[in-house]
Chain length 361, copies 4
Amino acid sequence: MPGNSFGHLFRVTTWGESHGKALGVVVDGCPAGISLSVADIQHELDRRKPGTSVITSERKEPDEVMILSGVFEGKTTGTPISMLVWNRDVDSRPYEAMKHIARPGQADYTYQMKYGLRDYRGGGRASGRETLARVAAGAIARKILASRNIEIVGHVVEIGGIKARHVPPGEIKKNVDTNEVRCADPDAAVQMQELIKTVKREGDSVGGVVEVIVTGVPPGLGEPVFDKLDAELAKALMSIGAVKGVEIGKGFRVAGMRGSDMNDEFYIDAGRIKARTNNAGGILGGISTGEPIICRLAVKPTSSISKPQRSVDMNRMEEVELRIQGRHDPCICPRIVPVAEAMVAIVILDYMMIAMSYKML
Amino acid sequence: MPGNSFGHLFRVTTWGESHGKALGVVVDGCPAGISLSVADIQHELDRRKPGTSVITSERKEPDEVMILSGVFEGKTTGTPISMLVWNRDVDSRPYEAMKHIARPGQADYTYQMKYGLRDYRGGGRASGRETLARVAAGAIARKILASRNIEIVGHVVEIGGIKARHVPPGEIKKNVDTNEVRCADPDAAVQMQELIKTVKREGDSVGGVVEVIVTGVPPGLGEPVFDKLDAELAKALMSIGAVKGVEIGKGFRVAGMRGSDMNDEFYIDAGRIKARTNNAGGILGGISTGEPIICRLAVKPTSSISKPQRSVDMNRMEEVELRIQGRHDPCICPRIVPVAEAMVAIVILDYMMIAMSYKML
Amino acid sequence: MPGNSFGHLFRVTTWGESHGKALGVVVDGCPAGISLSVADIQHELDRRKPGTSVITSERKEPDEVMILSGVFEGKTTGTPISMLVWNRDVDSRPYEAMKHIARPGQADYTYQMKYGLRDYRGGGRASGRETLARVAAGAIARKILASRNIEIVGHVVEIGGIKARHVPPGEIKKNVDTNEVRCADPDAAVQMQELIKTVKREGDSVGGVVEVIVTGVPPGLGEPVFDKLDAELAKALMSIGAVKGVEIGKGFRVAGMRGSDMNDEFYIDAGRIKARTNNAGGILGGISTGEPIICRLAVKPTSSISKPQRSVDMNRMEEVELRIQGRHDPCICPRIVPVAEAMVAIVILDYMMIAMSYKML
Amino acid sequence: MPGNSFGHLFRVTTWGESHGKALGVVVDGCPAGISLSVADIQHELDRRKPGTSVITSERKEPDEVMILSGVFEGKTTGTPISMLVWNRDVDSRPYEAMKHIARPGQADYTYQMKYGLRDYRGGGRASGRETLARVAAGAIARKILASRNIEIVGHVVEIGGIKARHVPPGEIKKNVDTNEVRCADPDAAVQMQELIKTVKREGDSVGGVVEVIVTGVPPGLGEPVFDKLDAELAKALMSIGAVKGVEIGKGFRVAGMRGSDMNDEFYIDAGRIKARTNNAGGILGGISTGEPIICRLAVKPTSSISKPQRSVDMNRMEEVELRIQGRHDPCICPRIVPVAEAMVAIVILDYMMIAMSYKML
C-alpha cells in the first residue's frame, strides 16, 4: 500500500519526478493477445502534453513514449508492460530560489512534513507531470474497452463560473476537440478561452468542472459494499492532483430533490430493462445499470500563480513574499480531460476483469 | 478484491443481510493493548439505530453487539475482533409481493444482473442496515483516535434546500445531538424536521448534505499518488449507500474561484507553520496539512417511497405500478452522520498506521 | 495486510480463539448461484474435529457450523458467507498455572513479544483450533472445484520415520479414510498407529509428512513471477501451524538429480500435449501443466508434550520446569490432512477465478 | 493481483524479458532519507550477473543499473525508485529454430497455454534473467537492514549429492565468496566445482540446496495466521524460478523427530529470553523469535541442457528431438544465492515496516 499503484487485476504502477530523468508506468495484468503499438499510446499522450496552445504551460516536451516490455511482435504477452518517457525540456533554475518555500496550494509543505526531504524541482513527484503515466496506462485500457464498444468522453463543463449549456451526448465527442478548452459548447468555449487569457495576464489562475461520460458499459460491474463502482471512480478521480470534488449522476443536486424526482423509473424497451432518466449516473447500489456512467470533477485553480503571495521559508522558518516563476497552465481543466478519461478507463476495465472472474461456473 | 473489506493495515470486513440471521464485522489489524468494551461499540451503534424518532424507520432493532474474539480481559490482543448483531425485528412480508420488481433507485436490478439472484428481503445486502457493521468497526477506530486527540464530528448542513448557517467548529459538536436531524444550526434544524415530516406525509423522501470535520490530524498522512488521503476518503464516503458526491474543502465551489483566492497562505504561529485559510480542507497533494480535514457528502433522497412509481417485474418482464410498503427513513441524512464519521475514522487510523510504518529508521 | 485473510478473488478472513466464545470465517468473493448447505461444510469439519479417536485430542467439540449470511434459499448470493462455530468444551484451568510460561515450540513467547499480551487459554489465536475456519472455507472451494472435476486428496506419507510405500493415485482416496492415521498404505498405517500410541504413552509426540494431490486442474493457472501457483501453495501450506517445509513435485530430491532425469519430456496423446513423468509436480514456470499437482508438507511433532521441559516464566523472568497439562494430539498429521486440502482448494479456486478474469477478450 | 509485484509496504514490481529492450523494477514504499547510490545496487547485481566464471552462462551482460527516480541528491525521497538495466548481449538466433517447441522443464508450454502466445526468445519473461530486478530491489532492502545490524547470508549447502559439512555461522560469510560455487566448506566447494564441470561436459545440469541465514532479526515480526513470517518467506523463495522446495529450521527432518527433541527450550541469558537450540529456524507461530532465521531452498537442475531430449512442436503438434543451443548455467545454485538473499531481505524489511505500523500507541 505504498501509494503508487492503482487497480486490482489491471494494475498500474507509476514512477518519476517532473525534473528527474524520466517518468514511467508498469501496467501489470493486461490481457495477452491485444494489438498494441507506440502510436496507440502516443495518441493519448499528445492530447495531454503541454506546450500545445497559448493556454497551456510553455514547457516543450515531446513526451515520446517507449514500450520496454510486455509487447512482442505487436501484441501484448500478458506480462508487465513497462513504458517510459524521458524528461527533455527541464529547467530547474526557477525552483532553486524557492526550494525552501512552501508554495501555497502546493504539496511542498506536506511532502516536507511527510518525508523530511523532497525533490523540489518542478514539484517533484507532486507535479501534474506525473499524470502522463496515467494517460499512457489508460490508453491501453481505452483500446481494450473500445473493442467492446465502451467509449469514454470527457469535456469541460465549467470554467470560472462560465457554464457550458447542455450538449447532447452524441455531439460532445464531435465538439470537444474543436477548441483548446475541450468544451462541447462552442459559445461557452470562446468565453472560457477569453477568461483564461485574462486570468493569465493577471498572473492568476482559474478553476472549473470536468465531466466524463462512459457509454456501453454492461450492467453488473461493481463490487459492493466497499468497492462499489462509484466508490472506486471517486477514488480514481480524487487522486488526480487538482481535484477537490467528485460527483456521480445528479451529484450534489440531490440535496434539493425528492425521491419521487430522483428515482429513475424502469421500463421495458425491446425486451430489455431500461431507465427513463439517469439521475443515478449509471450506477445503483455500487453496480452499473447499463445506462451511461456520468462523473464530474471539481478542478481547483492552478496553485502556481505569478501574483505575489505570502508564505513561509521552511528552512529559515520565516515569512516571505513569493512570486512563482516557471511555466504553468492558467487553467488545468482542458489538460485534465485526458487524465480523467484515463483513470475512468482503468477503473472500468479493471472492474470488467473482476466481473469476468465470477463467471467461472 | 471481492468488495466487502476496507482499509489496508486497519482492515474491516463486513457481512450480513437486512433480513438474514445477523450482520457483523471482522476488524483485523487493530493494535494490541487497547481497552475495549461492548459499551464502546454500543454507544456508536445506538447513534445509528432505527426506531428512535418520528423521522426514522419504525423498525425496532436493539442492535446489541456481541464481541466474539480479539479482546481478552478487556483489552485488544492484536488478533481479529469479530462483532455480531442479530437481526430481531424482521418482517419480510412486504417484500414478498415485490420480490421480482426492480424498485427505482434501489439495487434490485443491478444485483439481479450481477449475481443472477438475490436476497430480496429488506434489500438484502444492499440495505442501509449493512452500515451498522461499519459503525461498529469505526467505534474502535474512533476510540484509538480520541486517545491521540483526534476528533471526528459530522453534522447535517443541508436538507431539501434548507441550508444550515455556518456554525463555529467548537459549537457544532455541542449542538449536533440536541436535535433529531443532527444539524448544528438550531433554527435550520427546526425547518428541516418540519420538511421531513411533510415529505413523509406525502409518501416521499428528501436528500441533503452531510459534513464531517476531523481535528487534530497531524501533518503528513496520505500516500501519493493514487492513495492520497482525499482519494481514500472519497472512496470511503462514496461507498456509503445513498452518497452521490464527495467534496474536500471548497469542493465544487473551486470552479468559480481564482488561484489567488483559493491558495491558503502559510504563516508562522508560535514556531509552527499554519495556513491562514483552509480552502484545501486540510489536504494538499494528497497529504494532511495539520489543519482540520473537511469533507462533504451529497446524500440522495431515500429510494423507498410509498408514492406510486412505474417499474418493471424482472421475472415476467412487464411494466408494473409499485407502491412500496415497509419501514423507511424519509430522509437518511441524520442516520448517515455516524456512518460517515465511522468511515472517516477508519481511513484516518489506517493512514496513521501506514505513516508509522515508514518511521522505522 | 493484517494477516488473517487469504486469497485474492476468493477471499477468506478467519477469526477466533481456542477458548474464546467462538471461531469463524467470512468467505468473500464466492460466485453466486452455488447450492450450499450446512451439511456441505459440516462434512469437512467432521473430518478435522478432535475427540474422534484414541490418537487425537480428547477435547469434545461438536464443531457445528452456522451459516449466518450469503446463502439464500439454498444458494450462494455472491455476498459474504459468514460461518461460525461456538466453542463448547472449554476447560481453561490447565492454562492458568502456566499463563506466564513460554512453552517450548509454541507461540507464547513470540505472541508476547509481538503484542505485549495474549489470550493464553488453549493457545489463544495460535491454537490449531484456528484451522477449523480454514476447513469451513475450504469446503466451499472444494464443492465448486468438484463440480468442475477437480479433486483434492491428502494423505499421510510418513510418521516418525515410518514411510508409506507408493500407492497408485486411484487407491489413495479409497484407502485414506479406512484408518485413523489417514495413510493410504494399510501396512504402514498400522505401524504408524502403534508408534503414535507408544509416543503418547511416553508423554511425547511425533512428526511426519503429508502429501496433497490435485487432479483435474486445467493447464494455465498461476501468475508469474511472484504469484506463481507453487509460490502461493507454499505460502498457503506453510501458514498452517506445525508446517516446517513444503515441496512441489520432486521437492528436495532435485538436489541429487541431473537435468536429463528431472525434465519431464512432453509427448502427444490423442491430440493433446502430455508429460511422460511428473517430476515437476504439475507446475512449470509457476503455471499449472494439467498434470496432477503434488505438494508435500513437513509436519513437526506437536509442541505440547507432557514430558518435563525446561523453560522460562516471562513474568518473573526465571527458569522453570514445565509439564504441560491439557488435551493434545500426539501426532497432528492425520488432522492436518483436511486442513491442507482446504488450503489447496482455496488456492486452486482463487487462481481459477483469476485466470477467468483475463478471458474477457 | 497480476503477479509481478511482491511485498506489502515495501513493494517491488518487476518487468522485462530476457531478450527484450530492458528489465527493471519499481520499488515503492522505500522510506525517505536513506543514502542510496548506483554503487549500492551495482554491487549486488555484479554478484548475480552471468559470464563471470567457467561454471556460469557465457552471456556477457554488464548489467549496469540506472536509477531513474526516487533518489534526490543521494537520498531516497519516499517516492518510487525506478531502476533499469538494458539488455546488451542478446543473441536470439538459437531460439528461432525452437520457437514452437515446448522445452522440457521450461515454461514454454505453460505460458503458451496461459497466454496463447509468448516471447520465446531466451525464455522471455520466464527467464532467470528476470531475477536481476529482484536483486536490484533487494539491494535497497539489504542496505536498510544492514543499518539495523540485520545481516543476510546465503550459501550453497549441497550440489548433486555433495553436501557441505556444517560450518559455524561466523565462517560462512567469510568463506562463501572465496569460491565460485558459493559454498562455505572449501573442500566440498572443490568437489562441487569438479562435478559441475563434468556435468557441463556431458551436456547435462545438476541441482542442489541453498541455505539463507538471517541474523539480528528482532523478535515479533510476522502476521498470523495466514501472513506468518515463514509463510511469506516460503512464497518469496518458491517464487524463484528453479525452486521446488522450501524449509524453515529443521524442515523435512521434523518427520523423524519427537517433540522432546524438536522443541527449543527457553532459558535466560543476561536478562533476555533465549532458545538453547534453534530447530524452529527462528520462527514460532509465524513470528520471529530473535534467533537466526534459517531457510533452505531445493534448486532443480537447470532445465536447458544440450543432451538430446524428446519433446513436442506445439505448432505442428508433432513429437520432435531437441538439442538446446544457447548459453546456460550447468548449475544455477551459485547464482541463486544473491537472488534468495534479495527475496529474504525484501520480506524482512517489509515485515519490519508492518510491525512498526502497530506501534502507534
